[in-house]
Amino acid sequence: MSAARVGVVTFPGTLDDQDAARAVGLVGAQAVPLWHGDHDLKGVDAVFLPGGFSYGDYLRCGAISRFAPLMEQLIPAARAGLPVLGTCNGFQILCEAHLLPGALTRNASLHYVCRDQRVRIESTDTAWTSAFAPGQEIVLPVKHGEGRYVASAETLASLEAGGQVVVRYVGGNPNGAMNDIAGIRNEAGNVVGLMPHPEHAVEELVGAPSTDGLGFFTSILKKLVNA
């Protein structure tokens, strides 16, 4: 059996790419670096869009990245079912690319916030969260200035009705997100975006005081190996 290959994308200004690649490797999958300027997904089985400030977050977070050459390949592949996880800036890019509905705006506090945040896994019916139990509460770090999820009333209602809210903040909302939404998925469940950073909660020694982020990586590994 060949190792599951998870692409990790680097845009100019991406910061958490090596963290994501390390987390992918920790669960036994193979991380494949993908470069924003290439028109090539290198045949990966899944893609991780890491956090950072791609293109300096100039104009709007993720607004420039969605036009990167690599995205021309990634967007149709995601629509065709390729598993994609975007965290933080990756989530913002997925929204800008209309792979997920809604938008991420400036935190209600108007401050960047870095803290260990309790969240609840609301949907385990995705490529990235099947290893969790429904309703399971875990701790993941958040670190962002523009993580306040907003969407129209219709979109929110449809997300809630369709079980598309994947992760919800509990014990305090760090950014004023509507419905305490920390992460969502597309209808098919292959594309997930979230503001918290599972890749910073995978080792006892470093990062957040939890290893709860591992579940996102074991979920995708299980899916790819069983596929």
């Binding site: 100019p12 910061l15 950072g52 870095c114 670190k143 910073h200 020694l205």
Partner: protein, 750 residues
């Protein structure tokens, strides 16, 4: 518009030049004329005025700073010492760490956000220019009184600037300090530290050897940032229309800096860089003169080739511009294509602007005319040196005689504890540090509020085997102590940083410092400076940790009132196995708690005297460096043996605050008993002390280790419960401690 060429200068020897407007003294200007054998051109004057400024030349501090070299202890670990962009220390297994702290005080007062942001950017480029990957930042900050109006303007801007720039760069912010005192109200201190990692055989230096090698300017284009006095040259000397008022504070673009970091690391890996220098203060002037002076000795630069953001810039302005995110490299001609390809991959503009020569002259041209023709060493190395007069301040004896003995002692120690814990200097700094990314790069083992920041070494670099090693860093400084006794105050700053590194289990290795003082032209300030440097150099020798570099910031004063002398000291340590790091505070219930070190009645400059009485007088705690070293040895060895479950240094606010913070770390209570006067026991600030928590079965081994090194070890009690209890003295629920500790800064700053 005419250009002030060398030819023109030769023909107009008596034309008056605006040297005074550029901050030069008459004798300094005369010296330039003597060196050149003619009057300088406007561009040459621009170069000399910035290179001979206090900031670049250390002209007032040099005669004192040389003690850091003459008194330096022998250190096997020191690979690059003072005088380069940053010092480099051997941390084992082929790895080296480079670190430095630098001030950006004045810009941060004028424009807090950009001033602080570009302070981070500047120190990061210093680290990059040593050949290293920057891996973390820290900030030592001083503001006016927490309730003063201007602090509400300055602090949020500074924090936002550091947050914005550092977070965008992807560098974890792992520690630092936030201190309030009314003496800083017109002169906040923003001291930024960066640490980088490299293979020890990959050190890069700022040098331009090899005639024919190309000089490449890469990164951002040059604009009218931070030009300051240069517009005087552009408008006063020539019939130029008056330049619009230029922004005095530089503007940062962290996105470009992130690209520069990755670009530089690829350039280093491809081995296409012969010498490199960042462009900081004095921009192109500094980079060209320093590179040329340390290389073959000559360089030819065509200033017309410098990419500009503002096409109207005059050569004098280009030379002085402090536009951010620029680097200068010396590259072999055959490597230019590879160099350019890497820059292009990272979307970093790069331009060849000149080449290395063997003429011994730095020559620059503009529109085909020679506008600069100088021996570069005269600007870079042969600046003026002043032996400024100094004497003890008139009020010093009276200040030292006004001891805290006259202050009323508190009856209710619980109330005193809560008052101190909620005071701005001791309250939780979460409001500040929560705006910094401490996790990025996934190497952060410890970060604030831990005593020291700690990082594991996991970078992937050519030739490197995996290592268990890590580095620890702390910065400390106490302006009140230094005001009472600058010699001891500087030693106490070093001692505290040294102790903060040791309590995490790391062995202190090397020192960087940022010396923040008032005007060197005031003999009383100069005395404070001379005493602080002498104290720090002596202490470094005793503790066996060399100074590797740093920065002096003078003129931190408003009118004739200087800030407290504020030497901020950073210590870097190394831990053989990061898995053995000791967390700050009480990790679990059922641990024995011990106090290491001797407690004396020492309240001069203490947090208690400050908060309870607004008093500053007497003498600071004794700086017992022998005891400090013994304590450090015990802490590092105990950590190596796995004896310590938690630890915390004792400093501001004494044992009471150390106990409270240790409880707050994980919400674990503690019960202790004191044998001495509880007020002294709880609030004295005697140095060379630490609190440790051990499993009961390890206590005897710890006590024996302490006895071996003659470190006093007192069993105080045990962890457990939900309150901080000092038997027969006070009993405070941890929840109440938390509310008091965490409420202060949000209430002040929103």
């Amino acid at each position: 518009m005419s250009t002030d060429s060398v030819k023109r200068a030769e023909g107009t020897p008596d034309e008056p030049m605006p040297f005074a407007e550029l901050g030069m003294k008459q004798e300094e200007y005369d010296r330039v004329r003597e060196i050149l054998g003619r009057r300088p051109t406007g561009s040459e004057l621009a170069i000399y005025s910035v290179m001979w400024s206090e900031h670049c030349s250390y002209k007032s501090s040099k005669v004192h700073l040389k003690q850091f070299a003459t008194k330096a202890p022998h250190s096997e670990a020191l690979l690059v010492g003072m005088g380069e962009n940053a010092g480099v220390v051997d941390i084992g297994d082929g790895w080296a760490a480079t670190f430095k702290i630098e001030s950006h005080n004045h810009p941060s007062y004028v424009e807090p956000h950009q001033g602080a942001a570009t302070g981070v950017g500047g120190i990061v480029r210093d680290i990059m220019s040593m050949g290293a990957r920057p891996i973390a930042v820290m900030d030592a900050l001083r503001f006016g009184g927490a309730d003063q109006d201007d602090t509400r303007r300055v602090l949020p801007g500074v924090v936002e600037g550091i947050s914005h720039y550092g977070n965008c760069l992807g560098l974890p912010n792992i520690g630092g300090e936030v201190v309030f005192d009314p003496c800083y109200i017109g002169n906040p201190l923003v001291n930024a530290l960066c640490v980088g990692l490299l293979r020890k055989d990959q050190i890069k230096l700022a040098t331009a050897p090899g005639p024919g090698n190309k000089v490449v300017l890469f990164g951002a284009s040059t604009g009218p940032d931070g030009i300051g006095g240069a517009s005087v040259l552009a408008s006063a000397t020539f019939e130029d229309e008056s330049q619009a008022k230029r922004p005095a504070v530089q503007v940062g673009d962290p996105f470009m800096e992130k690209l520069l970091i990755e670009c530089c690391l690829e350039l280093y890996a491809a081995d296409v860089v012969v010498g490199i220098q960042d462009l900081g203060a004095a921009g192109v002037s500094c980079a060209t003169t320093e590179l040329a002076a340390k290389g073959t000795g000559g360089m030819h630069v065509d200033l017309n080739l410098v990419p500009l953001r503002d096409a109207s810039l005059r050569p004098e302005e280009i030379l002085m511009s402090e536009s951010q995110e620029r680097m200068m490299a010396v590259v072999r001609p055959s490597d230019i294509p590879a160099f350019m390809a890497i820059c292009e991959r990272w979307d970093v503009p790069a331009t060849v602007i000149g080449e290395v020569t063997d003429t011994g002259r730095l020559v620059m041209t503009w529109d085909g005319e020679t506008i600069v023709d100088i021996p570069p060493g005269t600007a870079a190395d042969d600046g003026p040196v002043y032996e400024r007069p100094f004497h003890e301040p008139a009020g010093q004896a009276a200040l030292n005689a006004d001891t805290p003995d006259r202050l009323a002692r508190p009856l209710n120690l619980k109330a005193t504890l809560l008052k101190l814990l909620g005071s701005p200097n001791l309250a939780s700094k979460e409001w500040v540090t929560g705006q910094y990314d401490r996790y990025v790069r996934s190497n952060t083992v410890l970060a604030q509020p831990a005593d020291a920041g700690m990082l594991r070494i996991s970078e992937v670099m050519a030739g490197a085997e995996p290592t268990t090693r890590g580095i620890a860093l702390s910065t400390d400084g106490n302006g009140r102590y230094a005001k009472l006794d600058p010699y001891a105050g500087a030693q106490l700053a070093l001692a505290e940083a040294y102790r903060n590194v040791a309590v995490t289990g790391a062995e202190p290795l090397a020192v960087t410092n940022c010396l923040n003082f008032g005007s060197p032209e005031d003999p009383e300030v100069m005395w404070q400076f001379a005493e602080a440097v002498r104290g720090l150099a002596d202490a470094c020798r005793t503790l066996g940790v060399p100074v590797t570099g740093g920065n002096v910031s003078f003129y931190n004063q408003t009118g004739s009132t200087p800030i407290h002398p504020t030497p901020v000291v950073g210590v870097l340590g190394v831990i053989d196995d990061v898995a053995k790091r000791v967390p700050t505070g009480f990790a679990a219930e059922g641990l024995r708690v011990a106090l290491l070190g001797e407690t004396r009645e020492e309240f001069g400059g203490s947090e208690w005297a400050h908060v309870a009485h607004g008093h500053l007088g007497g003498l600071p705690p004794e700086a017992d460096l022998v005891a400090e070293q013994a304590l450090g040895t015990v802490l590092v060895e105990a950590a190596r043996r796995g004896l310590l479950e938690g630890s915390h240094d004792l400093s501001d606010g004494g044992l009471a605050i150390a106990l409270a913070e240790s409880c707050l770390a994980r919400g674990v209570g503690v019960t202790v008993a004191l044998t001495e006067d509880p007020f002294i026991g709880l609030f004295s600030e005697s140095a060379a002390r630490a609190l440790v928590a051990v499993r009961p079965e390890s206590f005897d081994e710890l006590a024996a280790l302490c006895a071996e090194h003659e470190v006093p070890c007192y069993g105080l009690g045990s962890t457990g419960g939900t309150s901080l209890v000092v038997e027969n003295v006070l009993d405070v629920p941890v929840e109440e401690l938390r509310e008091t500790h965490s409420a202060t800064l949000p209430a002040l700053f929103g």
